[in-house]
Symmetry: C2
Subunit: 404 residues, 2 copies
């Protein structure tokens, strides 16, 4: 008699964005004449840049000819892409990462959620609170978190590292030492960044304690300030304690193309076993590579034309972020983020809960955001807006919020 994985039943309710989707659909059905502006899900809206489109067409042509057709990709990804990444994302920033320490995948979400598999079920995990829900949920499913305490909004065996306006949305080093530490900077949802000095403290802490840092740098392309590291490998000693996740989704608008990569330095060992070997085994056994044409598209992101076009696109989104930031400030909101990340993080007004403010904003301004509590109990009393909308909608949303 088959048995299900009962850990799945510990997940409370459904995935945050599905719930938001349902609420918005219900509202739209009841108010067919209102134009709802979506600033909830962190999905890009600008088209893929011309240099990447050209690469997609070219690679498609190759797939249609016997002489240039490509079947299964190499396990780690094509070397042309891994070499380019190692060169332009790491060596150019003084990080000594080799091409074969890079594992190309179909996105950071899969990698962030699958990485826990190479660790034992007896590891304790720590997460920023609030944070992108995938880190906790994937560990719940694996059975690493214990039960959910609904009164606290927390799983019993997870270390929640509180991020509030008091600590600048950057957590303190935990007193109870976690085995696995998920860090996400620039942060989703708070939009906060971490300085190189601060991140160095985390690296030192992990090396001292034998913890592994799982560093999600999906938003590094939005960093505008000089003292903010783009990679954890800018810190000394990170190669013996950290895995880094990168994504083309927000960097180059690849949410619908799917491409990302994970960096595992060869010298990173746990119990004398190289984590590189375990992840390579997982890749070889349970994954079959990102499509060739998408990997060619990824390579084009690093071309001179690609970089220039993407830089412009990111600047454009960050223009939205500035409009939101200033508009919300003018309207009297306490707001942060938006400088090194495409997310604005505001304190809900008048002691409203996150979901109360969600409903209020939807009903009054017809603007959809994301309730902070959806990212963890520490997000209660906060609210996320994204800079990924159109310029027109961003300006309109600010005007409506000001008029509330």
């Amino acid at each position: 008699m088959a048995k299900i994985n009962r850990n799945y039943l510990k997940l409370p309710g459904s995935y945050l964005f599905s719930t938001i989707g349902k609420k918005v659909r219900a509202y739209e059905e009841q108010h067919p004449d209102e134009k709802v502006i979506r600033m909830g899900i962190g999905d890009v809206t600008q088209p893929i840049v011309p240099a990447v489109i050209a690469a997609l067409h070219e690679a498609t042509e190759e797939m249609g000819k016997a002489e240039t057709f490509k079947g299964y990709a190499p396990d780690l990804g094509y070397e042309f892409l891994r070499k380019t990444i190692a060169e332009k994302d790491f060596k150019a920033r003084g990080c000594d990462i080799a091409a074969d320490e890079i594992f190309v995948s179909d996105g950071a979400k899969c990698d962030c959620s699958n990485i826990q598999e190479i660790f034992g079920l007896d590891n304790t995990i720590a997460v920023c609170d609030p944070v992108y829900p995938v880190y906790v949920d994937s560990n719940v499913m694996a059975g690493r978190t214990g039960e959910f305490d609904a009164s606290l909004g927390k799983f019993e065996r997870v270390i929640y590292m509180l991020c509030t306006k008091e600590n600048g949305f950057c957590p303190e080093l935990p007193t109870e030492v976690p085995d696995l530490i998920y860090l996400c900077f620039p942060n989703n949802p708070t939009g906060s960044a971490i300085t190189k000095d601060k991140l160095q403290e985390w690296v030192d802490y992990a090396n001292k304690n034998g913890s592994v840092i799982l560093y999600d740098a999906a938003y590094e392309a939005y960093i505008s300030e000089d003292n903010i590291p783009h990679s954890i490998y800018e810190c000394e000693g990170a190669k013996t304690c950290a895995i880094e996740f990168r994504s083309f989704s927000k960097t180059a608008g690849f949410t619908g193309l799917r491409l990302g990569f994970t960096v595992i330095p060869k010298e990173l060992k746990v119990e004398d076993v190289a984590l590189w070997d375990l992840w390579a085994r997982r890749h070889g056994t349970k994954y079959n590579g990102a499509p060739y044409i998408i990997q060619k598209a990824g390579e084009a992101v690093y071309s001179d034309a690609g970089r220039a076009q993407i830089k412009e696109q990111i600047a454009w989104y960050m223009g939205n972020a500035k409009i939101l930031f200033e508009g919300l400030k003018d309207a009297g909101y306490e707001v942060s983020g938006g400088v090194n990340a495409p997310y604005l993080w505001l304190s809900t007004p008048k002691g409203m809960s996150s979901w109360e403010f969600f409903d209020h904003l939807l009903e009054t301004a017809h603007v959809v955001g994301t309730p902070g509590v959806g990212f963890g109990p520490g997000g209660e009393g906060y609210f996320r807006l994204t800079a990924f909308g159109s310029r027109e909608n961003t300006i309109e949303a600010v005007a409506r919020i000001k008029a509330m």
Copy 2:
């Protein structure tokens, strides 16, 4: 202090095809003048057909324009593709499968290896022996199989269902009832197919015992005989006991494009929980969908032009299969498969082991095949050749084998 997942260390040696790759590279380095013919890995060689190439170009254009750009795909896959699949793969064959029972993914390998996650660690699994190694390996990694017994070539808690020439490479119903039963028909590596009557016995057995059948139908497009089911849902009662995996890799040459899907009927329940809900939760939390342009390519596979072009391609591969089958018979080999599958399965001559024959074939005929034992202990004494090579190489390989 972080701990690794020690189950990974139970996997003996490295992945079959990596080992073969290393042996072939070593041979080529030592014999730079010999032309090695590869009939080992089951990778296609024919280019993507014109109807699909056209769809890729068209979808690429859409991604480059703001009005038609697509971000994150819907969790289950785009409806245009799911509807087409439900219609053409299932309803057309009398199987009552709805569009929302189809989960689009980046390939059957990922789905086959991830599906075990929604089941508890206390389930016993049964696999055909020999079979595609991913079923066992993914369960080893999860900790469901116990230790490897090197003397038997078996994991202690796996039920191996022997497939030999004596039973026509179709296993008997096991006396010890497994919780999860992996079936793969047409079979990789034996090339054998299962009749509808036989498959019905498995469905009845699973329903009677509360087992779940995990049915890998990746090679269904190669079926040429009438009494062979293309889907397990052609059998009565399969919707309450079976999950089916499908792939575009071998059907339409998508090994380098990556597309597949999994069917979970809504009425399939275990412990009163719909498996559909669990898999949907996994998809939503740990996966982000196949690229839009690849899903459009998948849709084009079902267009009139696409189907005609693909039918021709499959017939061409099966032409290779026939040449191999007849050539091997002429050369005195005992051979099966090649009628409903692109694989030929031969008994090794003169009591040679699979790996001995691998080395012998590589050294004498410079032909690369796959040792049967790489697919499980029951594959010892057998050897796999694939029909995916070029016509020229297939003919040349047969000539060389005859001359051995």
